[in-house]
Structure formats: structure tokens, C-alpha cells
Symmetry: C2
Subunit: 265 residues, 2 copies
């Protein structure tokens, strides 16, 4: 199936005259407009959280009202805006930007935005953890490990669920700490007296299964970040193997990348 | 609605005795197992791409076969594995890991994996681009801009669609270049004789609308990365404002984060 046969006729021979925002099918224009509007929303271009009406948006985006309406429908589907007759188009909430250029817990991103609490769902020493958790932590077969699962809420609203395996010597000391209020990274550094070194991070985009949807208060099928994060002490030992599931309607990941090699020193 | 009332009874009083993988509802166990298995698959733990059978997985993950089956169903839903009677559970393809610690085009990630081609869908100088594109590029109202849209295919399979606005002096020189075969970053550096400096990057997770689904050959509702990337020349001038939509069943974003400040120098 090649639904864009008509546009594909343009390959090679570049069409330099048609306007971008009026080229292609309405669905294509809506997709491009949605990307532009999402970026403007995240940049805070609509200071009071209210978007201009369709006519004004169509003018500033050099597009048709129909395509603008379809783009707004896409963003409503993402949970980014609400639209109500008489009220207009409102940004639901500014997304929280979690920085991906320095190792920080989510808490550091979120505490500026309100009251962050962790609901501790699991906190226990597991005598026989799964082999894969032991391997990631470079623990011998037969070693126990500490398992934590926390649901994070910002101002009462669930944002993420964080499932963690910790090396037993590190983790056991944390079980009596304030896991509801404190960042695990800070607790590890405090209890060990050793700074964390680095973390290997892999980011996936997935959709919410029934369990995650119920936990986070979102529809089944809503987009999530699924993040694997393996954190090492400064001596290189892996101590904290996490799986985070984060609501993608409330959080972005952001960074600044340099063109040169990362480490100049 | 609080569907996990039973587990929530554990707050505060930590349950140190139940096994992780056998605690909670089967859906919760399946979610945790899916996260562990996804991480193992991406790490290449199953060298030949075939997963052990359910019984063996249940043993190594210290879980029940039912929960393992449910976890495998979640991963099948993500497009990560296929399951067939007689053949077993196969990894569809290893996900390509795009590094987020240095500014590189996607091409640099992908060319190691096969034949990468860009289908040029739009390549034109637009006389009156949308105001938001001009603002990002710090161009005056009334300035033209160059618009590109390219669909990337690796070994014939569509992976991403990349919609770009370029400053007119930079972009016009690119219109006659090999946009089907070359990286835009490389082309900018070649034609300007100036190295790129840095890019501000924001990553969203969204689901595929009809247009993107048709372009990328994925179901409507499949997870995507939507990435805004604003790239600057080494003198700080923004020249390339992109919206990328990338199939999340084929690509991960990965990085290594240091605990200290990013720049030690």
C-alpha cells in the first residue's frame, strides 16, 4: 500500500514553489502542523496556556482551518491540550522537561513544580532475584538483591513507576530510609559515602498496558517512555538497575548535544 | 479508581519476604518481566535472536509461566518479538541504538546496519514560511526558508520521517545536493565550510496518527519518538529546525550520563 503515490511523484524533481503547509494531503499537513504546535507549546510560546483560535492559527501557520483543526485533534489525542466550545483551546499542563545531559533523579526535575511524593509499592530484600537482575548488577548466582517499586506523584497526579534492583549491601541500608520522600540517588550517596559515577541509559517509547494504565491513570495505549538505567558508583561498580515507565503526556526528555566529541578534556 | 488497593496496603510497612516476581497481580508481574526481557533483548542477551521457551524463561526469571506468557504478549504488541507455534519466540530485529551524547545525524547510526536511503518528499524554497519556523531560525518576518521532508528507509524498510526548515542561505545550496543519499549535517558543513556547533533536543513519545502510520508502515497507535532538534552553527546561529518522527519499535535512544556537571573543563 502506497497511500502517498501522488506526493512521491516529486522525488528527484524538487517542487520549489508550493507552500509547505499547503502541500500534500490534509493528514500530512496536520501532522506537520501538530509537530510545530507541540514544539511551540513546550517552548512556552502561549504564555497563558490558551492557544489562538483556529482562524488566527491558520494565518500564522500559513495553512487551512481544516488542517489546523485536525492538528489540534492530534494534540488533544496526545493529552497536550483540551478544546471546549466557548473556552477555546487550552494547554493541559506544560510538560516537565527532564534533562538527559547529567545524571539526576526524576525528583530533581519535578520538585520545582510542586509536591512530589513516592508511593512505595515494594521495598524488600529478595533472596533469589531473577538471573537477569543479578547479571546486570554483576552479582553472583545465589546473591540476594533489594527490590523497590515506587509510584511517583506530583501534586497528587501519578507520573511514573520506577522498578529498581539494588546490590544487597547498598539496598538494605535504604530500606529504613524515607523512600517516600527522598531520591534514591541521594540516599545511595549518603549511606555509602561514595558518589555515584555514571549511568548507562536506554530510552524506549512504548504504549501503556492495562497495569501501567491503571497505575498512572492514563488510557490503555497511551504513550510512555520506558527507560532502562544502570547506575554505577564512581569506582565503576553497577549498583542500581532500574526500569522506569514515565507518562509521555507529562514529561519530555531534553538535552543539548555538541557536534564535536563529547569530552574535550 | 484504585485498582491496586491490595498492594497499597504495603506502604510504609515494607514487605521483605515476598519475591518480587511473584508479588502483585499477574498483570504487574507481566509488566516487570516485560521490562526485564526488553532490556535483555536490547543488550543482545539472546545471541541468535531466539528466546528460551516459556518454561525456561519462567525458571530464570523466577516467575510463573502465565506471567511470562503475558509479558511476551506485551513485547509482541511492541513489535519486538514474534511468536509462532513450532518456531518459538524470535526477536524481530535488534533495535538500532541512536546515541544521544553527541550531535550526529540518524544516518551515522544506521549506515552500519545496511543500505540507508532517503526518499525526498519535499525539497523547496518556501517564500512565506510559517511564523514559528522563522522565529526558531531567528529569521525576519518576510524571509523565505528552505523546507525538506525525507522518509528514511533502511534496507527498504521505513524508519523515520524528518521534516526540516533551513535558513535560506544554508538551505538553498542543499537543494541540488544528493539529499537521497547524504546526511544534512554533513552537507551543511561542506557547503558552508563551517562546522556545526550544537543542537537543542526535546524528545517526546507519541503514537502514530493515520498519516505517519501509512508513511512508516506501522499500525495507527504504534509508539513513536517525536524529536524536536534545533541545530546551530559553531557561531551560535540556528540554521536547521527539525521535527523527526521515528519508529520506536526499531530504534532506541541511548546515552551515558555522568553524575557530576557535564563539562569538567
Amino acid at each position: 500500500m502506497r497511500p502517498h503515490e501522488n506526493e512521491q511523484a516529486n522525488h528527484g524533481g524538487h517542487d520549489r514553489h508550493r507552500h509547505h503547509t499547503s502541500s500534500g494531503s490534509r493528514a500530512q499537513r496536520a501532522r506537520r502542523l501538530a509537530d510545530m504546535l507541540r514544539q511551540q507549546i513546550v517552548d512556552g510560546a502561549f504564555g497563558d496556556g490558551r492557544l489562538p483560535d483556529e482562524r488566527a492559527l491558520a494565518r500564522s501557520l500559513d495553512s487551512s482551518r481544516n488542517a489546523v483543526r485536525e492538528a489540534l485533534d492530534l494534540l488533544r489525542g496526545e493529552g497536550l491540550i483540551t478544546r471546549r466550545r466557548g473556552v477555546g483551546t487550552q494547554v493541559v499542563t506544560v510538560k516537565y522537561g527532564h534533562r538527559l545531559d547529567r545524571l539526576t533523579g526524576l525528583a530533581q526535575t519535578l520538585t520545582d513544580h510542586g509536591d512530589l511524593r513516592n508511593e512505595v509499592r515494594v521495598a524488600c530484600l529478595v533472596p533469589a532475584p531473577p538471573a537477569s537482575a543479578l547479571e546486570r548488577l554483576r552479582l553472583d548466582h545465589g546473591s540476594p538483591a533489594v527490590h523497590l517499586e515506587r509510584l511517583r506523584r506530583l501534586n497528587g497526579e501519578p507520573l511514573s513507576v520506577d522498578t529498581t534492583w539494588l546490590a544487597p549491601d547498598i539496598g538494605t541500608a535504604l530500606l529504613d530510609k524515607d523512600l517516600a520522600g527522598r531520591d534514591v540517588f541521594d540516599l545511595i550517596e549518603e549511606t555509602t559515602g561514595t558518589p555515584l559515577g555514571y549511568a548507562e541509559i536506554t530510552v524506549h517509547a512504548i504504549t501503556a498496558d492495562h497495569d501501567t494504565a491503571a497505575l498512572l491513570g492514563i488510557p490503555v495505549g497511551a504513550p510512555l517512555f520506558a527507560i532502562d538505567r544502570l547506575t554505577h558508583l564512581s569506582d565503576g561498580r553497577p549498583v542500581d538497575a532500574e526500569s522506569l515507565r514515565i507518562r509521555a503526556d507529562r514529561l519530555t526528555l531534553s538535552t543539548v548535544l555538541e557536534r564535536g566529541p563529547r569530552w574535550t578534556g
